[in-house]
Symmetry: C2
Subunit: 498 residues, 2 copies
């Protein structure tokens, strides 16, 4: 009898239930809640955050965790206790009043950021962002183990096993390889037409496309929801309730590929084992592994010719006015067009990781080097000019574009680039195991999805991202695949001969 673990169960239950409620509030706030609700609902969120904190960090839990270590545990219990210890490490070092105050600040900060972005007014956001950074630095210091840097401590929350040293190397290689390669692409004489992607596409049609494509990929609407929010995202209450959002614009590919991306996240969560969901190890392995799946679906699958072959006719039927004239080949070239641009979430696959690189470099300066937030617009512009050759004219399309910093998610961005690299490495391995393009051409998404579920999704947090990469591909994480993938694909498209 696992007596200590059994005694732990009510605390785990409470943490799960409160966390699920917090997730629902977040979803509701982003998709539906009335504008004026914010201040009073923040109070609710603050109190629930305190309850979560209490459930995880109280003295009895700490004692029980120690006792669990003396008991024989199942694999899942073992993983739950490890995850709980991890959270204890992250939370227990922070005084509860600061933790709750920050939860409240972060929820207010998101609203201030939203307004500032809408009104292109960085100055109105700067004071609250300064507060958020101040908290994150403190939390990093609280969390840092002896000798560890505070940004490394923050990174740990998103991607175990990837420290600043390793990320510096990873991003160093990307910079060294991709910045000059991008120059060749933009100087290439190959011109790709994509004007037809912009137009007056009705929301109703776009929504039908969104539902069709999500379902085609394997997003199960009996267990899933699609809604609209300002910024697309995925969340879930458990593996039977997974929710994705999109937003409709005058670019038909904008919602389309964001739905494919979010469906990738969603399919991951739907694939997590029943005995793991609603436990502390019932989510994706890490942010990076999550992004590897969403970007795998969005780019490696979603932007390939083979994927579109069986369904391009359906797409044309939905928008006959525009696309009857446009062939499959032309469509696929258009959705792969490289266009160095200001907005990360709209970026093409090639420039994407440079957007992330810029954020990584700035985060380090904010957290480690005491850069003041007032300097952000200038530094942001300088880096965009250096790496992408463009400079934002407004802060709304510059430093205000992403939600992450307003939430205090410092250390999150690197996982986007890591995820792309994980995905490429997995892709090269899968191509050895199956006729990848042939399956896509036959519409056998189920085979690909099943492979990912079997090898990645089902495990939840039982394994780290690093372990998964190793178990799937037989080797440690290796960014070369990612660089090779980009150079092969875009070298061919833009007829670049080295």
């Amino acid at each position: 009898m696992n007596t200590a673990y059994e005694k732990l169960q009510p605390y785990l239950d409470k943490a799960m239930a409160v966390q699920t409620a917090l997730t629902l509030f977040e979803w509701d706030d982003a998709t539906l809640a009335p504008k004026a609700a914010g201040a009073k609902t923040s109070r609710v969120i603050e109190i629930l955050s305190g309850e979560y904190f209490q459930a995880v960090t109280n003295g009895e839990v700490k004692q029980l965790v120690k006792e669990c270590r003396e008991e024989p545990l199942t694999e899942v219990q073992e993983a739950v206790v490890r995850e709980l210890e991890d959270q204890l490490d992250q939370l227990d070092c922070i005084p509860q009043d600061e933790y709750q105050a920050f939860a409240k600040l972060a929820s207010e900060s998101v609203r201030v950021w939203e307004k500032a972005k809408e009104e292109n007014d960085f100055q109105s956001f700067a004071p609250v962002l300064r507060e958020v950074v101040r908290y994150q630095k403190k939390f990093g210091d609280y969390r840092a183990k002896p000798g560890q840097k505070r940004y490394d401590a923050l990174l740990d929350a998103y991607e175990k096993g990837f420290s600043m040293d390793q990320l510096d190397q990873f991003f160093g290689r990307l910079k060294e390889e991709l910045v000059p390669f991008l120059r060749k692409v933009t100087e290439s004489r190959v011109l790709i037409r994509d004007d037809f992607l912009t137009g007056d596409f009705s929301e109703d049609r776009q929504e039908r496309l969104a539902r069709f494509i999500a379902e085609y990929l394997g997003f199960d609407f009996r267990r899933g929801v699609l809604a609209v929010s300002a910024h697309p995202f995925t969340t879930n209450l458990h593996n039977q309730d997974v929710r994705i959002t999109t937003h409709y614009t005058d670019r038909v590919d904008s919602s389309l590929f964001s739905v494919i991306h979010e469906a990738g996240h969603g399919i991951y969560e739907m694939g997590i084992r029943d005995d793991l969901t609603q436990t502390m190890v019932g989510q994706g392995a890490s942010m990076g592994m999550h992004e590897s799946q969403s970007r795998f679906f969005e780019n490696i699958i979603g932007r390939s010719q083979a994927f579109w072959e069986p369904i391009y006719g359906k797409f044309q039927e939905l928008f006959p006015e525009t696309f009857t004239e446009i062939g499959l080949d032309q469509f696929v070239r258009a959705v792969n067009k490289v266009h160095p641009d200001l907005i990360r979430t709209e970026a093409d696959e090639l420039t994407y990781s440079l957007h992330v690189l810029i954020r990584y470099e700035i985060e380090k300066m904010l957290i480690e080097d005491d850069l003041d937030v007032d300097q952000l617009p200038r530094i942001w512009g300088d880096k965009y000019e250096e790496y992408l050759g463009i400079r934002p004219e407004t802060d709304s399309e510059g430093v205000l574009q992403d939600i992450h910093w307003s939430q205090g998610s410092f250390g999150y961005f690197p996982s986007y680039a890591l995820g792309s690299a994980f995905g490429a490495q997995i892709y090269y391995h899968m191509k050895k195991e199956m006729d990848f393009d042939g399956l896509l051409r036959e519409g056998r998404l189920d085979v690909i999805r099943e492979y990912l579920r079997e090898n990645i999704h089902q495990y939840g947090k039982l394994k780290t991202s690093r372990q998964i990469i190793k178990d799937v591909t037989g080797e440690d994480f290796n960014p070369d695949y990612y660089i090779r993938y980009l150079k092969e694909k875009y070298g061919k498209l833009y007829e670049i001969t080295d």
Copy 2:
């Protein structure tokens, strides 16, 4: 310094936050959650219900409530402590495991009921309903004070100050007066055409009408949401986040009047004082008082000719194909047509309270007289035949039509009829204080709404419904106004001369 009250505050905060979360789950389940989510989300709701129970009934709270009684308290604090004592009385007598088990059962039961209703299969619902009734009887016994009957104990949760004795008198009068009056109406030679209310009205237009009418009444969309659910309802997280739902059918008046009804509930919640919302006395005074407001808006305001005068043109513009030909007078007669029918929520104003009467009589039999649920379809049919002259052919339009019993809400139904009676009494008083119809004709809804806010809404639970009636009208509750209102209005419409 209110030390004991201050010590109570964290428990009150937690109860408020958990209650708000439970409200959000309920909303989400009815409007959006995917079908398969139910079982796993029930587990979350069960745990949160347990947390609420704990927050309100733990030993320290009981001690602090006693200590509060020795302290000088403000009016609001006094009311909060009184309400807390009330909840303690209701909850503390129930063993926590039974309370939680029931919360889980109720949430499952709603799903079973939904399916049974859809499939017209009472037998599949009967076993779970039997369980629900068993729990409610037990809870009634636990709660009953010495000598009190268990159904009276249940009634207390919805309408303080109205026991079975008083309700028997109230419903007795309704039965005695309205059953024969209804016979005269159905035998009247006045024929009212309402065929034009049924048709192919697009959801989009119906939604525009719904938003227009809600806003016109004063439902503030900065603080409010309108969504779709199978059964229209109103809920709120606090006075800055009030939510109503509707459903669109081929009868344009169905969604229209249900929106007016729910907007009435919503305006009540929006009018509650800022220092009361998010406390234990921050909701409407009682279920009956709530229904008095929703039915006041729906019937007394919404079905009057004066109300439609300034806006009927707008309505015609939205549905020109059908309503260009139909005059205001004809429209108003149609939406007041009396048609004894099977569905309570679609019932006209005159037959409405007979639907409630039937439920009241059956509830008493279930809770007090050990009627088995297997007998429900038969008894239901008999009573409909006796009071309304019709008999349902299916259980879906019979005993399965309402959600309440599946949730275990026994004692709720009477408040619908009481609310109508409260509203009529308030109406006769308001007519003495203002030119009611004149204001409607001028579109001065704000004056009427402000009167209701000032005299009823703002107080939340600071006063009982009985006290409010007395303070507003200067006399105790008196059902004569309701009977007079119905006889005057429908006597005129159907040209009945006594």
